[in-house]
């Protein structure tokens, strides 16, 4: 049973997932060329606004969180010990 090879044990399957993601990204941002989103605020109308904002937001989130670790991270038993 342990010898069974599962779907993501094969690197090519992981690569396929990543390529599929890239394809979906291109398709959805490409849709902005043909589909005119109706908007409430002018920022929304910028080409690819949601896509770019989503990408940048996540990268910023992770990079800031990584830096925050330097400030916030303590040993796992931090509160269980006396000073």
């Amino acid at each position: 049973m342990n010898d069974k090879v599962h779907i993501f044990d094969k690197p090519q399957n992981v690569r396929r997932v990543l390529w599929a993601l890239v394809a979906v990204c291109i398709a959805t941002i490409g849709a902005d060329f043909v589909y005119h989103r109706h908007i409430v605020h002018p920022w929304e109308g910028v080409w690819g606004f949601y896509a770019i904002y989503g990408f940048v937001a996540c990268v910023v989130l992770v990079l800031v969180a990584k830096e925050l670790r330097k400030l916030l991270m303590r040993a796992e038993d931090y509160y269980d010990r006396d000073d």
């Binding site: 989103r37 916030l72 796992e76």
Partner: protein
């Protein structure tokens, strides 16, 4: 037909569960939310039950659209939680869970502040037992901190209610609004239970320490009662818009670096409540509908995520991202159900989060808060990142931890399956939920612009995660504690108390030493004069006394002659 407040059924069932043997107890527990739900449907709309208690007019049962929606929600939440915990053979947990669910239902049907206060406190007390039930030292400590903070919230609520009563002569629980000290105390009381920033750590401290099944109940009731109370009492309070926006943003940073996956979900819960708080703060029909609908959906999809992590903890005994991975191989069904919850919380179109969160987003822009809107959009991308991807990825995929287990017990799978079906059903047919909402706005969820925008936001967030992960920039899961506002009362305050007591000890030591020295000096002089060798203790020869007598006699004779 006698109109019984819906909580009575749960309290009676708790009494029964306290004495019945296991099988009978399971039957009673399953029946309660079903029977209660049917009874709920038969309650007359706009029913008001009044009771006079001494000079007070109490309303233990008030039915309107708002309380009814939360009543239905809590029956669903209770049913899912009960099914999920059916295999547990621990009477105290079952009794506590029934009392807890009943109190939540009692609280949302309470028409006056005193009744609300009573349920508010029972809610705190009974839920603490779901934390204690883990029977570890950590759970004990977290449970005590939880209880102290929750009871404090209740005390503030009571104090505020009494101040309002003095002022207006009424205890009715309607719109309160921020005006005056009494209303401010109530606002803070609700805020504590709602996990406002800096008042939020009881949630991230206690929920991950509860039992795998207990956390599912906890995540359903306490904070949603608070959201209900805010919606009832403080709709349209502008401060809530900014408080809510803060709540959506700051927890996601913690969620990214947190290792305990149930704690990640606890932070993500604050983030979701933030969206509701923003909606309540705006107070328009669309925003209120969005906030309340999101509370409804959150109970189910957050419950589903908590259940999937509970199932992982139950089967493997582990919950840290650093210890898990590769579980899709042995728990494929659980993994699939977890992904449904993840898609729902991330607000993928056709999943439940989408049809409620988008209402709040639209309302924020329409009311002219573009800054808040950007913050919420950031939080939306962030929630997909940490709850939508991180939770399923680190538990079920990522590197293979080597753990081989099996799917959880059937009742756990059934509860998760039920929640997943509801997530998809509401996501595809939101009108079933919209009909229950207090306002009719004619909101159309499936609008091409919204769908495209949301999909773009999500797939590019996913792309960011994939890129960061592949390039090795993504921070690894590390065994750690991340300090948060709780540091103030878990570290700083105890340290100050210790320092103060140490200071006092030093003072008392010095005082003691000085008195000791002083008394030693006195004693020495006493010993010198009165001791065995002392001048005043010397024995005198009879001769010298005769001599001195003669001297005295001579002196008096001389004085006499003078």
């Amino acid at each position: 037909m006698i109109e019984l407040p819906p909580f009575v059924l749960f309290y009676l069932a708790a009494l029964a569960a306290a004495v019945l043997p296991r099988r009978a107890r399971q039957v009673v527990m399953l029946a309660v939310p079903l029977v209660g739900g049917l009874a709920l449907m038969n309650l007359a709309p706009d029913l008001l039950l009044r009771v006079a208690f001494m000079d007070l007019h109490l309303e233990p049962l008030r039915v309107d659209k708002l309380s009814m929606l939360f009543g239905i929600l809590f029956h669903i939440g209770a049913f899912i939680g009960i099914v999920f915990s059916l295999h547990v053979d621990d009477r105290s947990q079952h009794v506590a869970a029934l009392l807890y669910a009943g109190s939540a239902i009692g609280a949302v049907f309470a028409g006056d502040l005193l009744t609300l206060f009573l349920f508010w406190e029972i809610l705190a007390l009974t839920s603490a037992f779901l934390i204690f039930a883990n029977r570890t030292d950590r759970a004990w400590g977290a449970g005590m901190r939880y209880l102290v903070i929750q009871v404090l919230s209740g005390v503030l609520l009571l104090a505020g209610a009494l101040m309002l009563y003095r002022h207006s002569g009424s205890l009715a629980f309607d719109h309160i609004g921020l005006n005056g000290a009494g209303s401010f105390l109530i606002f803070i009381a609700f805020g504590i239970k709602c996990a406002f920033p800096l008042l939020h750590n009881w949630l991230t401290d206690a929920y991950p320490e509860a039992t795998p099944t207990g956390t599912v109940f906890l995540s359903a009731f306490t904070t949603k009662v608070a959201v209900y109370a805010l919606a009832r009492g403080f709709a349209g309070t502008e401060a809530l818009v900014y408080i809510g926006a803060t709540m959506t943003c700051f927890p996601i940073f913690y969620a990214v670096i947190e290792n305990d996956l149930r704690r990640v979900l606890a932070y993500s819960m604050i983030n979701q409540i933030g969206f509701m708080v923003v909606g309540i703060g705006l107070g328009t029909a669309l925003a209120m509908n969005g906030a309340i609908a999101h509370a409804f959906n959150d109970v189910i999809f957050k419950g589903l995520l908590m259940m999937s992590m509970g199932a992982v903890l139950h089967m493997t005994g582990r919950i840290n991202g650093s210890d898990l991975g590769g579980l899709y191989k042995s728990m494929p069904v659980t993994a699939g159900l977890c992904i449904v919850g993840a898609a729902s919380i991330s607000a993928f179109p056709l999943f439940s989060g989408f049809v409620s969160k988008s209402m709040v987003m639209v309302a924020v822009l329409e009311e002219g808060h573009p800054g808040v809107w950007l913050a919420l959009l950031f939080a939306s991308a962030g929630v997909f990142h940490h709850a939508g991807i991180k939770i399923p990825f680190f538990a079920f995929f990522s590197h293979d931890s080597g753990i081989r287990t099996t799917e959880p017990p059937l009742n756990m799978l059934a509860a998760m399956g039920l929640a997943a079906v509801l997530c998809i059903f509401i996501g595809c047919y939101p009108w079933a939920l919209y009909e229950l909402l207090p306002f009719s706005t004619g909101y159309a969820p499936f609008d091409g612009s919204h769908i495209l925008a949301q999909i773009q936001l999500l797939v590019f967030s996913a792309a960011a995660f994939a890129w960061l992960k592949v390039s090795g920039i993504y921070p690894p899961e590390l065994r750690s504690t991340n300090i948060d506002a709780e540091w103030l009362y878990r570290r700083l305050a105890p340290r100050w108390v210790r320092r103060c007591t140490q200071g006092l000890t030093a003072v008392s030591d010095t005082l003691g030493e000085t008195t000791q020295n002083a008394s030693r000096v006195v004693m020495r002089s006493v010993v010198r004069h009165y001791g065995p060798e002392g001048t005043l203790a010397r024995s005198w020869p009879t001769g010298s006394m005769v001599l001195w007598v003669a001297v005295l006699l001579a002196a008096s004779l001389i004085l006499y002659y003078l």
